[in-house]
């Protein structure tokens, strides 16, 4: 919590969301309702606040927008604002395809754990740490802490990934 030049107390909230390329920090007045977070992200993301949901990272259900944001609880948590409540995720690997619903606030790591695990492609634990997710048809590994919602723009609510083996640079050029 900090005093601003305007003399009021504010708190910093970490946010991801629809239309945001990466995680950002926003400031809202202490005692604000959760809807203030939605309003701030909607402006950054360029979409209307009506119908937008607010999630906490990796939580499947949105939170009540009327609750008051408590600094001690919000600090360190990453929030996510998106107009889609669920995202239909599909992952491709060696000619096979699996699918599952996730909230937009799910981290890439969470989807990766599912895709590599027993209900996914059952990747050998010896090579599982080398696996990454890339957007379907691409080869660039996505950051594991990123929320999947940043890659989906309403009204779309589908997202396709490829499970790929991460790059291991060595002395010889590829």
């Amino acid at each position: 919590m900090q005093n601003t030049e305007q003399g009021r107390n504010e708190m910093e909230i970490l946010v991801e969301g629809e239309g945001l390329a990466e995680i950002e920090a926003i400031r809202i007045p202490v005692g604000s309702a959760a809807s203030e977070i939605v309003a701030a992200v909607a402006v950054k993301g360029g979409f209307p606040v009506e119908g937008a949901f607010l999630f906490v990272e990796d939580c499947d259900e949105p939170i009540d927008l009327a609750i008051v944001v408590v600094n001690e609880e919000a600090s360190g948590k990453v929030h996510h604002v998106h107009r889609a409540r669920k995202i239909e995720v599909e992952v491709f690997y060696q000619g096979r395809r699996i699918e599952k619903q996730f909230a937009p606030s799910a981290r890439i790591q969470r989807v990766l754990d599912w895709a590599a695990g027993s209900t996914g492609f059952r990747i050998d634990p010896a090579i599982a740490p080398e696996m990454e997710l890339a957007l379907h048809g691409q080869t660039k590994a996505l950051p594991k802490s990123a929320h999947i919602g940043r890659y989906v723009r309403h009204p779309h609510c589908e997202l396709a990934f490829d499970l790929i083996r991460g790059i291991v640079p060595n002395g010889a050029a590829r």
């Binding site: 990466e22 920090a25 695990g117 027993s118 090579i127 080398e130 594991k144 802490s145 050029a173």
Partner: protein, 159 residues
């Protein structure tokens, strides 16, 4: 007017940037010490047995960001290069990144010495250093490597 040299100003700006602070707030890394041009940062890790740990990295930042940082895995107690048997364990990707090699820096394309050999700048553009990168770019890559054992554990527990 600032008495800081351009590289020192660039480092100072990076250390207060949103991307750097967010990494600290999430517990991904923390600043241990800084006296330009040397910055020591601790990065959180997950060991193969699932236990949490951390590793220290020494950044030499002369002419930053035009020149890539020289990054070494560091022993904070002895203030020297971390002994090979104490380095991170995990997949081939992890051991390869922290192996002992000619220049003793972290073996990733964004490192000053590693990036300058093997045509890595053109071979691995997504991981290579350029002047538009920031310290958080390197730290995110290190954090991803050092916590990659999480995926192995998910796979193993599920198997």
């Amino acid at each position: 007017m600032s008495n800081l040299c351009p590289a020192e100003q660039a480092v100072a700006a990076d250390l207060v940037s949103a991307r750097f602070r967010i990494g600290m707030k999430r517990g991904y890394w923390r600043e241990v010490s800084y006296a330009f041009p040397i910055l020591v940062i601790s990065v959180a890790a997950v060991e193969p047995d699932g236990n949490s740990s951390e590793y220290f990295f020494r950044f030499e930042l002369t002419e930053f960001p035009g020149t890539a940082p020289d990054v070494r895995i560091w022993d904070s107690e002895t203030d020297a290069l971390l002994a090979f048997d104490k380095r991170p364990k995990g997949s081939h990707r992890v051991t390869e990144a922290f192996k002992s090699w000619g220049n003793e820096t972290v073996y990733r394309p964004w490192d000053r010495a590693a990036g300058a050999h093997g045509n890595w700048t053109t071979s691995y553009p997504d991981l290579a250093w350029n002047a538009r990168r920031d310290l958080a770019f390197i730290l995110e890559d290190l954090y991803g490597l050092l916590t990659s054992n999480v995926t192995a554990r998910s796979s193993r527990q599920a198997a």
